[in-house]
């Protein structure tokens, strides 16, 4: 079931790179078969989503057949919208916001996704200057993804960081322990439902600056982000 959602990029923009990426995609499709769930080619980037079972295999194939020997990074995305809200959207101090479960519709990015968490990695071929981003869905009831440390030794630290920040386990990892956080730390800070405590206990000082002036309540609002557009 190769659900090809390939978005064709603007051909006039960079035809050469896209040709390269289409070729890379063809190689991956050929090797992975049904394990390749979806793909996305746009703006000179190739994003491929694979099944969890084929995660390590996909990396082996990327290294052997695409020549992507350079391990760039591995990380995760929590697609759930933050229940705590975004304070910068408010023009006045909104104070404590309670989580609102009704506002938790998950919208995933390029190459789609069915789960709240996705792990993604980027691999580069340094000879031909091509790159591929691999994504994998992580089901909520089993937050784990097979390790790729045997393919790319450098994934070791990235998986440790991902594990402590998102709580995603990597079975087969040589020593999955804390990298940044102290040993007894509770919670997974980069999850969207983990509150940024500094913001909850103290109002954002920037909000004081943009409080509407009594006379011009309308005009003062736009000064919040107008810094970049002064030309």
């Amino acid at each position: 079931m190769t659900d090809e959602t390939t978005a064709t990029a603007d051909d006039a923009e960079a035809p050469e790179v896209d040709e390269v990426n289409e070729h890379q995609l063809a190689v991956l499709t050929d090797s992975l078969g049904d394990a390749l769930v979806a793909s996305h080619v746009a703006k000179g980037a190739l994003i491929v989503r694979v099944t969890r079972e084929a995660w390590a295999t996909a990396h082996e194939i990327a290294r052997e057949r695409l020549g992507a020997r350079f391990f760039d990074f591995l990380s995760a995305i929590d697609w759930m919208p933050s229940p705590w809200g975004r304070y910068e959207d408010a023009t006045v101090d909104v104070g404590l916001i309670r989580p609102d479960p009704a506002n938790a519709e998950i919208v995933t990015g390029y190459a789609g996704g069915d789960t709240r968490f996705q792990v993604f990695s980027r691999l580069v071929n340094v000879r031909r200057h091509t790159a591929v981003v691999l994504k994998v869905d992580v089901p909520d009831d089993d937050l784990s993804v097979p390790t790729i440390t045997h393919v790319y030794a450098g994934a070791n630290w990235h998986e440790r960081e991902c594990w402590e920040m998102y709580g995603i386990a990597f079975p087969g990892h040589p020593s999955l322990r804390h990298l940044y956080l102290p040993g007894g730390f509770e919670g997974h800070p980069l999850r969207k439902d983990f509150p940024l405590l500094a913001r909850l206990v103290k109002p954002w000082p920037g909000i004081v600056d943009v409080e509407p002036m009594p006379a011009t309540a309308e005009g003062a609002e736009s000064d919040t982000d107008g810094e970049g557009g002064d030309s």
């Binding site: 391990f71 200057h129 450098g154 980069l190 736009s222 982000d225 557009g229």
Partner: protein, 392 residues
Amino acid sequence: MTAITERQQLAYAERTAAEVRVNVELETDEGMTLNIGPQHPATHGTLRIIAKLDGEQVVWADVAPGYMHRGYEKLVEVRTYPQVTTLVNRIDWLGSFANEVPFILAAEQLMEIEAPRRARHIRTILFEMARLANIVLFLGDLGVQLGAVTPAFYAFRDREHVLDQIEAVTGGRFHPNFDRIGGLKDDLPKGWIADTKAVMVRIRNFCDEIETLLFGNEIFETRTRGVGVVPADVALAYGMSGANLRASGVDWDLRRDGGITGLAHGDLDFKVWTHPDGDSFARCWVRLQETREATKMIDQLCDGLPGGPIMAKVPRIIKVPAGEAYVETENPLGAMGYYVVSKGDLGPFRVKIRSASFNNVSVVPWLLRGVYVPDIITILASLYFILGDIDR
């Protein structure tokens, strides 16, 4: 330079080892556990290295970062796009401007905005200036790690001129916060180009000084040649980048190969230096050559600076369309990139910060196995990391 006998060298090595021994925490039958840091001066900040020793040899080593973790990836999620540059300035604090560039380029890519040609050129000048400010200090600091104090003073003296030039444009010595989506905050001040070219001459002289002082020095050669060798395939598998990768013989430089349109490296004539050895000496040597190359690039950019505006037409309130973009540039410490996920809001939904030092240092546990205690310091110095760039 007077020749140094082997005995003097041995005495020097012993003295260094004795200094390191002060940090020994516990001694057991299975050997000794040596704890370097988090406050050891050789670690460029608060990085802790735990090494198990057999005599003078390291049999196992581990790195414990995190003493400076500031959670930028979380903080970025509650900021608007223009506010992010202020934060990311602090990642690699010696080459601050270079941190802003990939994030701005990723946002520009999502918004489909292109900075005007003049802005791209000035951006590239400041980008390379950040490299000078960063690597000049490395070249000076390198001597300190080996017991030679003089180069550090030369480095601080000459780096100040680079910082003066950055300050003249941006108003900040360390944290310029100058790059904007669609261009730059301001144009160059009057007379800046002539001053900059004079500074470039000074930096080239500094490179010559360092080369004679340090690279021709016998102790330096003995302590770095053949020490801490990283083969090319290991460097690639660990994602080492920048001079560390090129010192292992991999000819990959994002300034030439990245196809980055928001910077003007494509218009320049420069050489990418590589070294086949992969040892500490190679890493230092490649950085020395890159410093020279960067001064030449700035000269070329100053000569061919195009006219025109420095800011593209950008909406007053910046909302970035939904999508994902990854832009990686060749920063002073290596490849640095931002994976920006936008949902069409004022601020990014998720930003993965790929910092160069994180990958560069993750090789240390592998690299330190089998080396001798005094070499730990030279290897760490030659890998060259900034703690803020590891911990983010």
